[in-house]
C-alpha cells in the first residue's frame, strides 16, 4: 500500500478528527433535543469508519485503489500553477487584484505553459481589461485596487 493511495483516507480521518476537536466545547445534547455537536460527531464517526474501510480495502487489495500519478512535467506544471495562485492571493492586497491577475496570467502563459510572447501578452491585456470592465466598471464590485490608481 503506497502512501499516495492512502492519502484520501488519511485526509478524511484528519478532517473528522478536526471536526470532533473543533466542536469539543459544545453540548452533544441540549434540553430535550440534540445539541450543536450531535450532527458533526455522527458525521465524523461515519467518516472515520469509511476511511478505515478504505484503508482495509487497500491493505487487502493494494492494486484495487492504485492511483495513476501524472508524469513529472505535468506535476511540475500543476505545482507551478498552484504556486502562482498563492502568489496572486499574496500580491493582491499590495498591487490590486487586476494587476496581480495580469501578472499571474503572464506567469502561467509564459513560464508554465510556454506560450509565444505576443499572443500571451495580448491575452493578458484582454483579460485584465475584461476583469476591470466587467467586475469593476459594469458590476461595480469593489476589488482590491492598486494603491496609486485613480
Amino acid at each position: 500500500m503506497r502512501l499516495i493511495d492512502a492519502t484520501p483516507a488519511l485526509f478524511m480521518i484528519a478532517l473528522s478528527a478536526a471536526i470532533v476537536a473543533g466542536t469539543g466545547d459544545l453540548p452533544y445534547w441540549a434540553d430535550i433535543t440534540p445539541g450543536a455537536r450531535f450532527f458533526p460527531v455522527w458525521l465524523a464517526g461515519t467518516g472515520i469508519l469509511l476511511a478505515l474501510l478504505l484503508l482495509a480495502n487497500l491493505y487487502s487489495d493494494p492494486a484495487g485503489g492504485r492511483v495513476e500519478i501524472p508524469d513529472a512535467r505535468a506535476v511540475v506544471r500543476v505545482g507551478l500553477t498552484t504556486g502562482g495562485m498563492i502568489g496572486f492571493i499574496v500580491l493582491t492586497p499590495f498591487v490590486g487584484m487586476v494587476l496581480a491577475g495580469a501578472l499571474f496570467m503572464a506567469f502561467l502563459l509564459l513560464v508554465v505553459l510556454r506560450q509565444p510572447l505576443m499572443p500571451s501578452l495580448l491575452t493578458v491585456a484582454i483579460v485584465a481589461l475584461g476583469v476591470e470592465g466587467i467586475f469593476v466598471r459594469w458590476l461595480g464590485v469593489a476589488l482590491p485596487a492598486f494603491p496609486f490608481s485613480i
Binding site: D5, T7, P8, M12, L15, A18, I19, G22, L26, A30, D31, I32, T33, P34, G35, A36, F39, P40, L43, A44, T46, G47, L50, A51, L54, G65, V67, E68, P70, A74, V75, R77, V78, T81, T82, M85, I86, F88, I89, T92, M97, G101, F104, M105, L108, L109, L113, Q115, P119, T123, V127, G130, V131, I134, F135, L139, G140, V141, L143, P144
Partner: protein, 509 residues
C-alpha cells in the same frame, strides 16, 4: 380565485409590449448566470436605482426576466467548462460536460436552453392557474417533509457512487463534514470554524463551487493540455445549424421528462429556503431512477442535461409563490424583489391578488413571456457560444483561473474566500486524480446543512420525539416513495439477472 383567460391575455399583451426591456434583462441575466460567483440577487441589488425609479410593473418585468435568464445561463459554463454558474446548474455538469467532451457541446447547450425554457414556461403557466392550490402546498411542507425531500437528493450520492461505492461515499461524507462547519442552525453556536470569523456562516458555496469545479478543471487542463479528444474536436469544429436542430429534436423527444422534472422543481421551489440546487439534484436523481438506461447517466446523455435544467427553471416560479402569496421570500432574489415591491407600496400576501391582481399574476405572465423570448434569442446563439470550447486549453485554463478567482472574491469581498477557493481547488484536483466524485462531495456540502437544519427544527418543535418524522400523512407518503426509489435499482437489477438466468435455460430447451 383563478384568473380568467381574457385577463391573462391582457397581462400577456402588456408584458409583451416591453419586449425590448425583457430582451435587455434576459441578456444581462444569461451573462451573469454564466459567471460563477455572480447571481441575479447581486445584479438586482446593483440595479436598484433603476428598479426603484420606474413604475412597479416595469420594475417587476425587468427583475423577473433577469431572474429567469440567470437560471438558464448557469448551464452554459457547466456544459462547456465543467464550471457551474450557480448552485442550480451544478448537476448539469454531470452529463453536460461529458457531452461537450465528445464534441456534442452545441447539442448539450440547445438541450439546456430548451429544457430551461420549456420547464420555465410549463411551471409559469401552472402557477397562473393553480396558484391558490399551490400556495396551500407551502403550508403542508414543513421540516419533517423537507427532511425526506433532502434525503431524496442525498441518495444521489449512492447512485453516483455506484461505480466505486466506498470512494463515492467518502466523497459525499467529506462534503457533509465540510457542510457541518459553521454556526449550528438552532443555537447559532459557531463550531469547527478553527478560529476563522469568515466561517461563522458556514463554508460559503461559491468558493467551494469555483474551487472544486473551475480551479480543479483548469489544473486538469494544465496537466493534460487538452479537453477534447481529437475525434471530439473534429465533431465540435463541424457544428452548425444542423446540430442546433438536432438538439431541439432530442429535447422534444423527451418532452415528458422536461415537464415532470419542471414540476419537481416547482414543488421544491415553493418551500421557503429550499433552492434550485436541491431541485436540480433531486430531479437528476429521479430521472436516473426511472430511466430505462440508468447506467448511461454520467456518460453524457441528453436526459442528464434536461432533468436538472428543467427543474432549476421550474424552481424559479416556485421561489416566487410564497413571496406573493404569504409574503415570505423563497430565496435571496425573491427577498430583493420583496424590497422593491414594498418600496413601491405593493402589499404582499393574499390581499395582493384582490388589490393588485395585475402584479400578482403579472409576475408569472412575465415569466412566460421572458421564457418565450429567450427560446428565440438563445437557440440561434448556441452554435457560436459552443465555440468557446475550441479555444486552445493553454489559453483557456489561465483565463478560467483568473476570472473565477475574481468571481470567488466578489460575493463577500473577503481575501479569505480566495484561500478557500485555492484549498478546494487542490482538494478537487486530488479528488479527480484519485477517482473520487466531486459532484458527490458538492451534494454533501449543499444538502448537509439543509438536512441538519430541518432534522433539528423538527425535533425541537416535537420536543425531541423521533416519531415526529412519521407523524404527517404527506411525510409518510414521501418516506414510502423514498424507500421505493431506493429499492427500484436493486429490483431492476434482480429482474435483469433473473431474465439473464432464464434466457440461456430457454435457449437450451
Amino acid at each position: 380565485m383563478e384568473p380568467s383567460l381574457g385577463f391573462v391575455a391582457e397581462l400577456f399583451a402588456h408584458a409583451f409590449s416591453y419586449w425590448w426591456l425583457i430582451l435587455i434583462a434576459t441578456t444581462i441575466g444569461i451573462i451573469i448566470g454564466a459567471m460563477p460567483g455572480f447571481g441575479s440577487a447581486n445584479t438586482i441589488i446593483m440595479l436598484l436605482p433603476f428598479t426603484l425609479a420606474v413604475d412597479v410593473d416595469v420594475a417587476m418585468i425587468f427583475m423577473v426576466s433577469l431572474f429567469c435568464a440567470s437560471q438558464s445561463g448557469g448551464g452554459i459554463t457547466s456544459i462547456l467548462l465543467n464550471i457551474p454558474g450557480n448552485g442550480g446548474s451544478a448537476a448539469t455538469c454531470i452529463d453536460g460536460y461529458p457531452m461537450a467532451k465528445k464534441g456534442l457541446g452545441q447539442q448539450a447547450l440547445v438541450l439546456s436552453f430548451v429544457a430551461s425554457q420549456v420547464g420555465g414556461m410549463v411551471t409559469a403557466g401552472m402557477s397562473i392557474f393553480l396558484l391558490p392550490y399551490m400556495a396551500k402546498l407551502a403550508y403542508y411542507l414543513h421540516s419533517v417533509e423537507m427532511v425526506v425531500i433532502v434525503l431524496f437528493g442525498i441518495t444521489l450520492i449512492a447512485s453516483i457512487a455506484s461505480e466505486n461505492m466506498l470512494k463515492g461515499l467518502i466523497a459525499g461524507g467529506l462534503g457533509l463534514l465540510i457542510g457541518a462547519i459553521g454556526a449550528d442552525h438552532i443555537y447559532s453556536t459557531p463550531r469547527a470554524t478553527f478560529g476563522f470569523l469568515e466561517l461563522y456562516d458556514g463554508v460559503p458555496l461559491i468558493p467551494v463551487l469555483i474551487g472544486v469545479f473551475a480551479i480543479s478543471e483548469a489544473l486538469m487542463m494544465i496537466e493534460s493540455r487538452s479537453v477534447l479528444s481529437d475525434e471530439g474536436l473534429e465533431v465540435a469544429k463541424r457544428a452548425g445549424w444542423k446540430e442546433t436542430l438536432e438538439g431541439i429534436k432530442w429535447a422534444f423527444q423527451r418532452t415528458w421528462l422536461m415537464i415532470w422534472t419542471a414540476i419537481v422543481g416547482l414543488i421544491i421551489g415553493i418551500v421557503p429556503g429550499a433552492g434550485a440546487s436541491i431541485a436540480a439534484f433531486v430531479a437528476y436523481q429521479q430521472a436516473r431512477l426511472y430511466s430505462k438506461t440508468p447506467e448511461k447517466f454520467g456518460t453524457g446523455i441528453p436526459e442528464g442535461v434536461i432533468a436538472p435544467e428543467s427543474a432549476n427553471n421550474g424552481c424559479s416560479s416556485g421561489d416566487l409563490i410564497p413571496l406573493l402569496v404569504i409574503g415570505v421570500p423563497g430565496g435571496t432574489t425573491a427577498a430583493v424583489m420583496m424590497i422593491v415591491m414594498t418600496y413601491h407600496g405593493v402589499q404582499l400576501g393574499p390581499r395582493l391578488f384582490i388589490q393588485s391582481p395585475e402584479i400578482g399574476y403579472g409576475v408569472f405572465v412575465t415569466m412566460l413571456v421572458a421564457y418565450c423570448v429567450m427560446l428565440f434569442t438563445t437557440l440561434p446563439l448556441t452554435r457560436y457560444i459552443s465555440r468557446l470550447i475550441l479555444i486552445p486549453t493553454a489559453v483557456l485554463a489561465p483565463i478560467i483561473i483568473a476570472f473565477t478567482l475574481v468571481g470567488a472574491f466578489a460575493p463577500r469581498g473577503y481575501m479569505f474566500d480566495l484561500w478557500l477557493t485555492l484549498f478546494f481547488g487542490v482538494i478537487g484536483y486530488l479528488c479527480r486524480r484519485t477517482g473520487y466524485n466531486v459532484v458527490a462531495m458538492l451534494i454533501g456540502v449543499i444538502l448537509g446543512p439543509l438536512l441538519e437544519a430541518n432534522v433539528m427544527r423538527a425535533l425541537r418543535i416535537s420536543g425531541g420525539d423521533p416519531w415526529t418524522f412519521f407523524s404527517s400523512p404527506l411525510a409518510n407518503i414521501l418516506w414510502v416513495l423514498l424507500i421505493i426509489s431506493l429499492l427500484i435499482p436493486s429490483l431492476v437489477q434482480w429482474n435483469k439477472n433473473r431474465q439473464a438466468a432464464l434466457n440461456p435455460a430457454v435457449e437450451n430447451q
